[in-house]
Subunit: 333 residues, 2 copies
């Protein structure tokens, strides 16, 4: 059985790819095992939560940074499982906050089982992730990830606050996506480096790499919301706008627009006029070059991530991380 | 300034009461300090969350069990702050899950600022509580409280599953209230005992005490929902029923009812017919002796808690815990 979770990540090194696959199966098994519940109701919800396979970007980064893909320590597998669980818990809550009905081409848990079930399952998954770290006595990783989760909630609250504001500054946008997305990806790399016993300089390079691909990852996500094929995206185009989220393509389109285009964008945003207005915003953002400019910004973060790789020892892991940059920046559109 | 948080707890020992008050002010300050945020939006939400003073039962239990009220160690104050934060986070999520609009006589955060803000503030408060324990390196307490939080989410999920079922068994009811309420109160006593360096036998007696007053506490809460003055209760009578929750007064009324009363109760529950039906259920439960019988069950847990106190050294702390039993069982109705 080929696990689906590496879809799109082009690893030329087949041996490494198979090694990662083996570790990811261990991660997957540990996640399932940890979320096992005696109560059929909870077990059913867990099934629903775990069914749509994610990209597994975060556990892959932990495993690569820990330095022994294919023969990862139990601690690295556990940390990889924990970051995936934290990510899952965050998605469960975000989908309730945003009233999102689709993710990864599937109905969300809140759509299927109600907001209450999704909120409580988020708590269930997140608190289990913490107990896993406590039981394994991974103190340093626990400290890092606990702080990360706290800052992610700050990022989500900032985003909620900025929703439907007149027009975001690019700086506010970057702060939000750092807290809500890039921090966890940074922490994945740092956790792996800690568990792999990396020297301080190497660990810092890993954090630097993670922060930058984290930023790139979120920006590409925000671009996809403007231009992906909905069938590939797994949710309708323009969802962010519908949720009152102003993302980089919009901000850059606005900044680059001639006065008339700028006025039109502002009027459409102020009116909040439903599907037709949203469709016009999406088209304006594209035609004003907002998505192209945002993608260029993502590529710059990608290049910064690549530059950070210079701080790592040469070898197949560094090459795989390089391929991860391509994957993050160029993934399906 | 007299802190309001001991209202209703009758401590004959005035010196001890003042000592506890001093510690509780330290707890209060630590909670506020830990939840401080640079973002005005988050700071405003925090204010709203912390404004209505709770009963502070949980931190009081930590401080008493730690054994040095008035001169509590920083670790005991921190653990007391953490259990209050965990409790607060749980309430924030529960109020969204139950769509509750009032608590402690105030509008809930979900009523004031929306479900999204309440969900994310719950995550914010809970994750901060965990980082406090990690930073203070209170490993044993962290292990206990992390597991407790996870089990509380299991209890809440069980309760969600049982909502609107035909008729709960008393056993299912007791399991739910143990997980969702009594476990945290048990963990408060155990945490205090750990931090106070109690011997194993004493720590076990503390857990036993906590579990039993925890059960009593929730049953009394459930009785209050049937018969309290709404002005004192801070929310309408019959809220549990409106949320589809079957609690002990109903289960015991049903068990004790003659066939006609039982059939009437079942018909009313099955119809789910709004305010009038609910009012009739509330009156039936009272007239069938459900609240009196549930209160007797709470008193039995209270007596079991008192019996556990025999395992503690005699002295003013044991007397204060004895007074806590009275407070829990006899609080305002």
């Amino acid at each position: 059985m080929k696990p689906a979770f590496l879809k799109g990540l082009k690893l030329g090194n087949l041996r490494l790819r198979e090694a990662l696959d083996r570790d990811l199966l261990r991660v997957e098994a540990l996640v399932r095992d940890s979320l096992r519940a005696d109560e059929p109701f909870i077990a059913g919800l867990t099934e629903t939560v775990l069914a749509p396979p994610g990209k597994r970007l975060r556990p892959i980064l932990v495993l690569l940074a820990a330095g022994r893909p294919g023969a990862s320590s139990q601690a690295a597998v556990l940390a990889a499982a924990v970051v995936e669980m934290i990510h899952t818990a965050t998605l469960l809550h975000d989908d309730v906050v945003d009233a999102s009905l689709h993710r990864r081409g599937q109905p969300t848990l809140n759509a299927l089982s109600g907001d209450g079930a999704a909120i409580l399952m988020g708590d269930f998954v997140y608190s289990r992730a913490i107990t896993l770290l406590v039981e394994a006595e991974l103190t340093q990783v626990l400290g890092l990830l606990a702080t990360t989760v706290h800052r992610m909630s700050v990022g989500e609250l900032m985003q909620l606050d900025l929703r439907d504001r007149r027009l975001l500054s690019e700086e506010a946008y970057r702060r939000v996506i750092y807290e809500k997305t890039a921090r966890l990806i940074e922490a994945c790399c740092a956790s792996g480096a800690i568990l792999g016993g990396a020297a301080a300089g190497v660990a810092a390079a890993y954090s630097d790499f993670g922060r930058n691909i984290g930023m790139a990852f979120q920006i590409v996500d925000d671009v996809l919301d403007y231009e992906a094929d909905p069938a590939v995206l797994g949710k309708p185009v323009g969802s962010d706008l519908a949720e009152g989220k102003q993302t980089l393509p919009l901000l850059l389109a606005h900044a680059a627009a001639p006065p008339a285009g700028r006025a039109r964008l502002e009027a459409l945003l102020a009116a909040q006029d439903g599907d037709a207005a949203r469709q016009e915003i999406v088209e304006l953002v594209r035609s004003l070059g907002g998505t192209v400019a945002a993608l260029a910004a993502a590529r710059r973060y990608g290049e910064a991530a690549r530059a950070a790789l210079a701080g790592l020892p040469a070898g197949e892991i560094r090459e795989a991380l390089d391929a991860t940059v391509d994957y993050v920046v160029e993934r399906e559109r």
